[in-house]
Amino acid sequence: MLHSSVQIQPLSRRGVRLRRLFRQAVAHAVLGGGGFLMMVPFFWLLSSSLKAPHEIYVIPPQFIPNPVRWQNYLEVLVDQPFLRFTRNTLIATVPATVGQVLTASLAAYSFARLRFPGRDLVFGVLLTTIMLPYAVTLIPVYVMFKELGWIGTFLPLIVPYWFGGGAFNIFLLRQFFLTIPNELEDAALIDGAGYLTIYARIITPLSVPALTVVAIFSFLHHWNDFLAPLLYLNHYENWTLSIGIAMLKGALSGGRDTTHLMMAMSTLMILPIIALYFAAQRAFIQGIVLTGLKG
């Protein structure tokens, strides 16, 4: 793997430290500067959430709201059934995420590490299904759910994800599983371990960053999903946060402009994800170190 023709350079300790400082400075500059830029949409969201609706679009635009309308958040929490929306969103999200992570990773492991007839064909078909825009399968899917009697319930939002939950996650995890060396598995097989054990005890712990990514993506996708709740959760008692936000879109409101409330609810909707993401960082901080392996 390594070219053995690389020269061995004598590296002074000071040179190493300077180089590392330089790298750190560059990293801070780019990450900080870029991070600030990336945050601009979010700043705008936050700032709009604290204004009166007609103040949002004044010219020239004001970044800092003046006065700061904290009562927007109060209005969202009190006037809007925010807690109910959140509960419904959790019902739609958590079971689906768990199901998706479990079944997708199991399938991905099989596609990556096991041999069986038809493996590549099935994987190919799976991948092909996400190449078709959803608009043209919407009607047959809707009719199917109607025949099953699932319209008006949470089932269309949850059940499909306990059955593999889509090619994206399976594909992603397959790629990760393919990067794990054979040796560990071989050793376990020789020791007489079954494939399920290998999957649970060896592959899974080694893939914690990848599984975390899939869990985050899955959670985010279901948390923010708009179309499925719109089509299948007919009664307002079952609505999720994404519908709640759309209901507050200023232009649709007939009598009142509620853009500021929409921004406030959007901000509230992001907070749990930020918390989740922050907490999940722990899975990223430590790299995976393979011990006991001879390179």
Partner: protein, 470 residues
Amino acid sequence: MVRQISRRAVLRLLGGASVLAALGACSPPAPASTPTLAQPAAPPTPTPAAAAPVSVPPARIKFQSRGGDAILKVTQTLVAEFKKAFPRIEVEIDHTTGDHFQKVQLGVAAGNPPDVYFDASLRTGGLGWKKGIIEDLEPYLRRDFNPDEHIKEMWIAMVYDGRRIAVPFDSGAMALFFNIDLLNQASLPLPDPKKRLTWDELVQLATRLTLDVNGKHPGEPGFDPTRIKQYGFAPTLLHGHEHWIYTLGGEIITKEGKVAVASPEAIEGYQKLADWGVKHFVGPSPEYKQANPVGFAAGNVAMSEEGVWMLGRTNDAKINWGVAPFPMQKIPVSYGHYSGQSMTRMSKAKDAAWQWMKWVSLDKEGQTILFKGGLLQPTRKDLIEAFINDSQPPARQYREVFYNELDPTTIRWPGQHQNSFYLGYRQYWIDAWNPRYDPVLRGKKPYREIAQEVQEILQRIIDTGEPATQ
């Protein structure tokens, strides 16, 4: 360092997930009980229907409403009050805030569409009727509709191929809104609600009302059209914009069914429409309007052609405002439209559905709720006084303008001669029109350069009934 996921943790996770899944799956379809309402302005309790309700067998209908939160609340009030008048008809609300028409179509494909839905009649009414989704309301109207109770001009955008296919649920007239404070600040006379401004008068007013960030007016040295802080006049570019052509004596769709957007009057009119921004610099550029759908309510447009549906939002923004009729050049022209509820042909409870539609959209109790909810300018004559005398701004003499503008002698709309709004093809029309008119709006081309091509394409649309493919 290798992490282990204990079996117990996995089981706990699975258990928790299953409980949540069971919770979700087992949540029953919510009962059609009266929900609690959080309404800022409670509508007046309507007096029980004077006439005994028509004896209708018990039925269950599904009403699909659309739009935002305010509309949902009004719909909930309507259902609650309707139940008192018709206790044996259950109304289930299916409120769709995204693409509502898509959901109607899905229901049609699956065989269970809503019985009644609040349509964006001017856009999807025509095609919904032509393709067979919407039921013809003529038989019901001939039996139950009393034209003497209502204003004459109310079926605009709800009539296609000579058939009325919806009953009013929201909207009303359009007019010229003006910001009294901004006019006073500029020491300009307020427009007279009984007079129509001429184009020249409007240009002069608007120029004095347009300010860039340095306080300069258009035409003054140093005026920067890209740094405008306050616009003088925003014409309507979508609803009712045809008045700019009609007022010159032009036509959009002639009596013979010919598209006339390349006639001399149309060329002049469409160019004038674009000139407000391009030449006079008093009208917001399209990119400004894009991000700022409530320009008048944001207080940075002094005069604007708006619909009565903006009333609530303008008041929310605490604007001190007045209303005048649309400007004219040769012929006085006005505009308004109503969006309505339509009945689906596949409905299995049409009589009950009609009872609902009639009570909500044509009877006094329903129209009062729609009016108080800020949705509807009442079409009932016995509610005109209530609308004009309403305590909210604008003042009475301004509110009258909304009814004056619905005068059948001045109101004009494409397809009027055929009693068919845009002949039913407005969706195809605007998809072909917008991308072509856009460069005119931005000042990249004069309208006359594209007029002939546009006319041919639009003519083909209404002749073939097919959308444009170029």
